[in-house]
Symmetry: C2
Subunit: 519 residues, 2 copies
């Protein structure tokens, strides 16, 4: 039984797997009240029920952390040598061997790191709450920068011409405002707009589009300058342009802008100081290091009359652990290779989530911060139609002597192209293209690199699964099987986000607790 | 004489006061090469010419710093008790007495500060170069946040309804995209657009405005949620709305958006860690503390046959210092009260810049970070049509227990309204209005406050003067008078910015050096 009134958003006991009412969830999203020790006490038990959690990524660790707060005895088994899962921060000395047997060891200097997986947190995400609860210091993640570049080789009147975001925005917003202002003046919107609407619209457009008194867009300060105004009578050197309306539309730069207003991506965003995995290192400490076993890959999970038996490998030996419950927070494709007695329906359901997508990143360590010195880009992301897709400038270490740029962050076919290359060849390909945008220092200042291909990382084998939350198979997995429950970002509304992993853990913990309380 | 080829952007000797060629300035804006000691040496002198600089704000300190690097013997006289001028950071224990005799002493806790004046730096600004050169640590200043509010009492169908930026943007961009898409489909733009243009435009609008397949805007995720999606099948609770096209236009929220694409204000922006005046504290240290005299208000600057004589007060005594040159980096209205022999034309020219505008800020220190906890706003600015104008959430101290919000930052009539009140009444008025947006915790969590009215600060007496850089009077001031030169943000293209003050100093230093070299 639940203690009355305490647990926002928890389905009634016995109704695990049903959809909580929207109002309860609305509350839960803002104030998480996990199962607490007193629930056990009120139910006449002393707590201490044992739970094995498989996986020390965000979903597994959150499960262990919340269950432990509620008085459960938790053990986490992690196949890899470190916590965090795809929240992976690579620092100098870190070593990873991929499924092909290729080993890379990062040679980064002190304080330099690559967030090889999860890289950003929106301020509304629950990840922020754990960061705060654990006392992790954090700072702004620079997801958008007016001075970063847009670079399209395949479109536009001047393909391959790096253009600052601010310039592209001024031109796109300028011309589209001009067009809408023109259409309004021509009476084309008379059926849609009152006189007041028109006046309000025109006021907005004039300002938003920097239109002149005739309603035309002709450029202006917001495009930026070749040389900015200084003092005395130096009004600055304008950039060439703007290009024609047709050319600006043909550049397709505007198609990059919606990213900045996207609900998951809009600034401000944040990152833990020192690397994204810091959160999960803190959480391991909070749970107790002795409760988290590394290099302990699970090979079987069996439901038993008394609970669960989990089989794993450690130091060349096969071990087993008995527990009252298990939460399995591992990639679905891995689970399908284990010895389980979950039955065919669960295996079929897992197959729905067993397709890990391809994604890759490379960290390029530089001996200078040329992007700050030469380009005056302090953080942010350059967008391209090259196969490197995105280039991230670092959101940390401003003003230091050295730094690290994410030279590609790509998915799908582009990711597979790079995955097929050796680390050295990935570096060469990334640099070859980055030079087109940034010039030769992109090559000459390079000190070292480290690249990841997520489908080649042992025990992870993919970047993310796409959620199929409306399906019968999903509903089956929500219920778990016997005393075993499932968690992971792929069981959330936000696959590939720590927020999703955390919430999937919260739901799994609630379902487990409901079952424990009803025992 | 100048050393050949070294000094980008410097007018030829003897032509001080003429306009440097745009190309030279374009170069200078990216790579500042100040006068150097070797210039003196090449000219057959040993350096050591003495310069008195009046004012330890950004213009004065930059002048002293650059001249000292070039081998000059510098003394800075500052009327106030601290460096930085309007780059003023108020920390716990700091005390200020205004021109009315009202003293405030900040009771802020450790690590809490108010940047009472200069508050942000665009990444292209030269301020960044000095921060880096001096080794000042810095961090992102959060000039824009999708989760900050817009609040208009005087307009809209639902006046006084706080709306998140992200919601307002989704609605304004949604409806304006719908209108332009509609006008395009109606053929209203056939005279302006080719078929390719139309296709490119419609692709952009569909994405930018989140239009549905019929071309209509009906809301969507980018508006944000009452409760965000979590896991299992919880798709989140949408916000009510969107309101009608007419209501969205009538809200006039869109008129706040151009700020984010403005050339001076577009993100990313930065601030020194620990307070904006840190830069100038570092610069005082670089110049040598013994060379900067505080509490030393100047009362006269006289050109003499040998150079200049500067008269000032210190510890109740009138003192004089002789020097070869002076750079006066003080507010123009102050200079007009001094004993000078600059002549009537200079006095008339100074009068053009002697109108200090009104501006005020209040720092509200809170015992919790309710804006982060309750509103999930981590930094950024809320815009209003109230007389408090802007509310700034702090860009530092994330996740700490306490923090400081700028409760108003206003100018003109609104600033004068607050200036006329006692500090306690300013606080009461600011809180009264902030409560409308944030609820009662805006009042109940308040711990202390500190407010500033720039026109009441001794020896400053105004927020900023508007530049009139095209005038004959401005040209006169550029030339200086005798061996005296002028500097200050008001002598730049960017009044009210540290960048402007710095560049005015660079020009003054160049003019002085040209004259010294020609002696």
């Amino acid at each position: 039984m639940y203690a009355a009134g305490g647990l926002a958003g928890i389905p009634a006991a016995g109704a695990v797997g049903t959809v909580p009412a929207a109002s309860a969830v609305a509350q839960a999203a803002h104030a998480w009240t996990p199962p607490s020790g007193s629930d056990f006490h009120l139910a006449g038990r002393r707590g201490g029920k044992k739970v094995v959690i498989v996986g020390a990524g965000p979903a597994g660790l959150t499960s262990a952390y919340e269950l432990q707060k509620a008085g459960y005895d938790v053990t986490v088994l992690e196949a890899r040598h470190r916590p965090g899962g795809r929240t992976l921060t690579i620092r100098g000395g870190d070593s990873e061997t991929d499924l092909d047997g290729v080993t890379q060891t990062a040679r980064f200097g002190d304080g330099i790191y690559l967030n090889a997986g999860a890289g950003r947190i929106a301020q509304w995400m629950t990840t922020m709450d754990y960061i705060r609860e654990l006392g992790v210091p954090y700072e702004v993640f620079t997801n958008a920068n007016a001075d970063a570049y847009l670079y399209n080789e395949r479109t536009g009147s001047t393909p391959g011409n790096p253009t600052r975001y601010r310039t592209a925005k001024a031109d796109v917003f300028g011309y589209t405002s001009e067009l809408l202002n023109y259409a309004t003046d021509q009476g084309a919107l008379d059926a849609r707009l009152t006189a007041d609407d028109k006046a309000n619209l025109k006021t907005f457009l004039r300002s938003w589009g920097s239109l002149d008194t005739s309603g035309a867009y002709t450029g202006g300060s917001n495009r930026g300058y070749a040389s900015y105004p200084t003092a005395w009578e130096e009004h600055g050197t304008p950039l060439p342009g703007p290009d024609s309306l047709s050319a600006v539309l043909a550049s397709r730069f505007g198609n990059y802008f919606p990213f900045e207003t996207n609900w998951e991506q809009a600034m401000l965003m944040f990152q833990p100081k020192g690397g994204m995995d810091t959160t999960w290192q803190y959480m391991v400490k909070a749970i107790g290091k002795q409760r988290v076993e590394f290099n302990a890959p699970v090979t079987g999970v069996q439901n038993t009359p008394k609970g669960v038996t989990v089989t794993y490998e450690q130091k060349g030996r096969t071990k087993q652990v008995e527990a009252d419950f298990a939460i399995v927070a591992a990639p679905a494709q891995l689970m399908r290779g284990w010895a389980t007695n979950w039955g065919g329906a669960i295996d079929t359901a897992l197959a729905d989530f067993a397709i890990g997508s391809a994604a890759g990143k490379i960290g390029l360590e530089y001996q200078s911060r040329w992007w700050e010195d030469d380009h005056r880009i302090f953080g942010g992301i350059t967008e391209t139609d090259l196969d490197l897709a995105h280039i991230w400038y670092p959101s940390y270490g401003y003003g230091e002597r050295t730094g690290l740029v994410v030279g590609y962050y790509n998915t799908g076919a582009s990711a597979r192209t790079y995955a097929a290359l050796s680390p050295k060849d990935r570096e060469a390909r990334a640099v070859e293209q980055g030079v087109k945008i940034h010039g030769e220092r992109y090559r000459s200042e390079l000190r070292s690199s480290f690249s990841i291909s997520w489908d080649k990382v042992p025990y992870i084998q993919g970047a993310w699964a796409y959620p199929r939350t409306g399906t019968a198979n999903f509903a089956l997995l929500q219920q778990g099987v016997g005393n075993t429950f499932f968690a992971g970002d792929w069981m959330s509304e936000l696959s590939a986000w720590q927020h999703g992993a955390i919430w999937s853990a919260r739901y799994a913990v609630q379902a487990l607790h409901a079952k424990a309380a009803a025992l």
